[in-house]
Symmetry: C2
Subunit: 397 residues, 2 copies
Amino acid sequence: MQLSNRILSMQASPIRKLVPIAEKAKKSGKKVYHLNIGQPDIETPKVFFDALKHFDEKVLAYSSSHGDLELIKAMVDYYKKYGIDYEPSDIIITNGGSEALLFAIIAVADPEEEVLVPEPFYTNYNGFSVPVGVTVKPITTSPLDGFRLPAKADLVKVINPRTRAILLSNPGNPTGVVYTRDEITMLAEVAKEHDLFIIADEVYREFIYGDLEYTSFGTIEEIEDRVIIVDSISKRYSACGARIGSIASKNKELMANMMKLAQSRLCVPTIEQVGAKELYKVDPSYFKGVNDEYRRRRDLVFKMLREIPGVIVEEPKGAFYMVVKLPVDNAEEFVIWMLEDFQYNNATVMMAPAEGFYATPGLGVDEVRIAYVLNEDDLKASMEILKRGLESYPGKK
Amino acid sequence: MQLSNRILSMQASPIRKLVPIAEKAKKSGKKVYHLNIGQPDIETPKVFFDALKHFDEKVLAYSSSHGDLELIKAMVDYYKKYGIDYEPSDIIITNGGSEALLFAIIAVADPEEEVLVPEPFYTNYNGFSVPVGVTVKPITTSPLDGFRLPAKADLVKVINPRTRAILLSNPGNPTGVVYTRDEITMLAEVAKEHDLFIIADEVYREFIYGDLEYTSFGTIEEIEDRVIIVDSISKRYSACGARIGSIASKNKELMANMMKLAQSRLCVPTIEQVGAKELYKVDPSYFKGVNDEYRRRRDLVFKMLREIPGVIVEEPKGAFYMVVKLPVDNAEEFVIWMLEDFQYNNATVMMAPAEGFYATPGLGVDEVRIAYVLNEDDLKASMEILKRGLESYPGKK
């Protein structure tokens, strides 16, 4: 029997596919610094675990398909702080941002239709589109100018009658880009003029460094019925393993239809929602502390990368990733070599080869994504290892 | 902007769509007995909650996309008791049986391809197929003969070159049917002769009443590379809100490709897996107690239904549902009427109209699905209310 073409044509996750090689390296006794995955080391606020400990139902029942109303109300309050005015019925709780993305893509596009995405992009945008028959059409951006969007006249060239939405993360994963108000306004105009939805993945909303202004699509009133906001507690509260996300829109027809998807999968875990509700009540000073920590990490990694000969990197402004051009022929081969054949002080680093973050063939071949989610000492050690690895690597450009 | 055709064409869940009407009835002060949804009242084994309380990581990190290895090993041991011989790599943990079904459908069928399903079927088989462009092709079965499968010669008539799999639940939701060894063997032959996968939803494996033999597709060696077993802890351990399921197959290529889907959504909640692992170690005597309880409930409901004039129902043999033919013009209208306009001792019952469990238009219009998931007193009261409701209902046949 034959598997479906769609599953055969899916690429393996560039973030996770090399994990078995890393496991082997670890078994051989090598320490591996994981810069490949956005798994923060920041402690999850204790209120989450406390809520779990106090859960005292005898039957672990389904929750509502829509999501726990108390959690949704906590989210409504959270959004208000950012000038985003949602009602509880505008929000559905999802299994992580992942399910929110899947729902959004299904709701706006049929098979053989297209979604525009600035590349490099969070690789799983492809991972959710391909299985449901939707094509990711790239808007190419480059590390050489800090991943700015092209001018409107260039951007609209990729739009055709099958284009249904623009999907993007802001702050950007994997680029760390934070779009300017002008860029956001331009995209809003494009959406209006070409009758598109905007699927705004804003899970890194709090991770902005320096005094940059942040413009959420949730604040652009003229297109409020076109905007779908994808969100998640994973990074915001360092709770990746909770798998609590949300999808929000003021488009009532969209939300009513999306509820059919939510009802099909019954609900999101009941207890995780109880914990998540407490997280949304955490004092905003928490973000300040976390943000300062990440800014220091970014500064450290950026500075050390700039000192490595041949490395090209612009200062990322948000999230906790950067895409780095390396002086190597092939970054995936380099990453594997680092795991299998290199060590310094009995340790090595794992990064994510960036080619899988691009839809245009051939782009990103010499780039990696680095997640600066470790403490400063570990990051320092990692950059030292990377530098020495590049010095000894036989496949250097 | 236009929503996708696929989402517009999805039906609302017949199990959940009338919930707002039930909520209104409750607000008016009426008690509503919920026979519409398979939410058991049986206590979740305490070991689940204990494991949660003892979770003492500081960071709630992602788990592996494949699933927690300890949980998978516990499942391997569990399957062994049923003569099903899986290795850890044959199993992926999923977000409930729901995600396992979605993965299976995506993996075996492309858009415009078909999956055969005995009808009436668990309505969300449609809910997972429609969004990914797959058509559910019904094999019609009837309450008049206890939902037996048709003879092989009749069954194969619905197969065409676009048919990719047979999907079925055994024991059956919503029918309570338990397929005989002959029926299972016949389906296995059909799968082999027509090169199809079998997606076997066996989440009610333990819920078999009387001395019936149960044949899992996991024990049919000749087709082991065609069999995909969908499973879940929701009903088995009365842990619906945990959303822990699994998908299993000995087809290595299938599982390797399915991992791409698993990696896209990153992982299943970390803590729920810690709890689930303990459930799989619960002593099998637990099932015996639960099973006895459900058998008593079935006997009670079946007996009382048989005594209501005009009601047609065969004794269900497994799961905890039955599909009942009512002497009404339209079962959905009757269910709404029961919620809005009827009460007995200030209480009413909610059932799931069965039409949405059929793919063939017009079938099931006068049928409901009853889930006997309440205690005997509540079920007794519910059947009394149903009886009196039918007596007063103006839309009687």
